[in-house]
């Protein structure tokens, strides 16, 4: 199995708080990789550093054999990492279809002049953008809501739309930040089906999740963060039995 992403000694400090301390992890191509940990363990911080939204204090990331331009979100997206957000961030006043069309931005080229003169190339690209966006809406199962404003979609559909928008950038790695947060059991089961489908279609998935049951059942491998440090990284069965992990989740017996 080939390595898709290798994070080496990522560090991040907010004032006096060491949010991430030399976190290193390796994600293989084609797997679902989970990142779990108690509240405040640094999962989302790691996500934000990886996707370029936060600057880092140390470390680097090799993605697909190339060093990733950390600190530059659009370069990270262009390199092939797409993400969703813990508290959904859609373009609320654009339609579902338009949201996904925005996702095509990074894979397309048309500029101001092309748009002004409606060149043949521009029209073809526009048509292709819309075709692909419709395809992706169908893929995540919300094609019937294409012309509704993103803000008017149900919570579960908004999650799906965010995934469709991320997929529109044609990523190699899809990073999902707590996709099951706030979902009921049915919605979670459907989401799980969607994520497994993504993996089966050849995508690598990085998953932050609170729902331990979902993570344990879904992930091929996972890492556990606690107080900004990685305390375990292995297949779920092994991680589950790790005493450090149990302590982090249930509290230590000492003192």
């Amino acid at each position: 199995m080939s390595v898709l992403l290798e994070a080496r000694a990522i560090g991040k400090r907010f004032g006096g708080v060491q949010a991430l301390k030399d976190v290193s992890l390796t994600i293989n191509a084609g797997e679902i990789y989970g990142l779990i940990g108690p509240n405040g363990a640094g999962k989302t911080t790691f996500f934000n550093v990886l996707t370029g939204l936060y600057s880092r204090d140390g470390g680097d990331v090799l993605f697909n054999g190339q060093p990733l331009q950390l600190g530059n979100p659009s370069a990270v997206a262009a390199a092939g990492i797409a993400r969703t957000f813990q508290n959904i961030r859609l373009f609320a006043n654009m339609t579902a279809l338009e949201n996904v069309m925005v996702g095509r931005h990074v894979c397309t080229r048309s500029g101001l002049l092309g748009a002004m003169f409606r060149t043949k190339q521009n029209r073809q690209e526009e048509a292709a953008i819309q075709r692909r966006a419709e395809e992706l809406l169908r893929y995540v199962g919300i094609a019937h809501r294409a012309n509704d404003l993103a803000r008017n979609l149900s919570y579960g559909d908004q999650r799906r739309l965010e995934i469709a928008r991320a997929l529109a950038t044609e990523p190699k790695l899809l990073a999902l930040d707590e996709p099951a947060a706030g979902m009921n059991a049915t919605e979670t089961a459907e989401l799980r089906k969607l994520i497994v489908g993504l993996r089966d279609d050849g995508l690598t998935v990085l998953l932050i999740e609170h729902d331990v049951k979902l993570v344990m059942g879904l992930c091929d491998r996972l890492a556990v963060l606690d107080y900004g440090e990685k305390i375990a990284e292995d297949v779920p069965e092994v991680v589950q039995k790790n005493p450090k992990v149990i302590e982090a989740y249930l509290g230590g017996a000492h003192e």
Binding site: S74, A78, E98, S110, L112
Partner: protein
Amino acid sequence: MMNKLLTDKPWWGVALVAASLAFLPFVVGAAAGPAWVRVLDFALLYVLLSLGLNIVVGYAGLLDLGYVAFYAVGAYLYALLSSPHLTQNFPAIAAMFPDGLHGPIWLLLPAGAVLAGVFGILLGAPTLRLRGDYLAIVTLGFGEIIRIFMNNLHRPVNITNGAQGITQIDGIHLGPVALDRSLDLFGFAIPSLNLYYYLFLALVLLIIVVSVRLEDSRIGRAWVAIREDEIAAKACGINTRNIKLAAFAMGASFGGVAGGLFAGFQQFVSPESFQLIDSIMILAMVVLGGMGHIPGVILGSLLLTLLPEFFRYAATPVQQWIFGQVLIDPETLRMLLFGLTLVVVMLYRPAGLWPEKRRSRELEQKRGEVA
């Protein structure tokens, strides 16, 4: 959208609109006098300006309070390159152009657009990290800086002639047709003001087509995405720096074109014409009409140019009719009524008079949640 607007309507509908637009200046001129045709011409210039600002404020959501600076850049470029000012003050230039500087319109308007676009980037580059109020303050300062430069660039070298402004600017010529004189067409005289009306109308139509095409394009969607959620836009791979600069440049270039037309039309420019209140008026047109919605913005700019003029003319006779005498100076009353109109519209139509459908839906929903 524009294409749909044209194709969905029956041909006679389009023909009717075209005919009424074509005859409008004659009807207005005959019914209300040439002063109102002049108002009409200015209204069209303001449509150009507000469509330009609409790109920056309406689409990309970047609050710009110094937009009139780009209007000034376009106007001064035209003024300098088609008036005797430079040849009188610089012997070297006079030697190069013994017949004087008379830049052709087909060169000066695009040059004005490009130069204003460059100034747009100059303004945009240092403000990329700013949003909302902070951006408004910086752009306000930029607008003032440009005006103050125009005011003071007459010493030690006289470039702009300072507060006195530049006079004797050539009127606009389209090939053999001089727009500053009435045109005799088969024994039928078309006044100069009407000729300008047609030129401005043509450019308004051109700019509408450009706006519509931009709105419905990859870059246009990226603008709206930045307005809606900048972080999500970045995560989608949008290079927000370049896309914002494109918005500033594009919006500014419309202002530059309008500026060139203004200089040729007035044949006189001075820093007086490019004050903060003008920037605010253009912004008010965009907001009042409906941000990000082209028909709304056009409506807003027409209303805000025509209403004050209407109040000015109506104030005296109406007072005499009601009170038998003029109690309040028409000039004062005019601004009073104008302000009142703005407040009323914003109270009852907070999304603008003719908002974009999706935006209006959002606001109605919010109101429903409160109630």
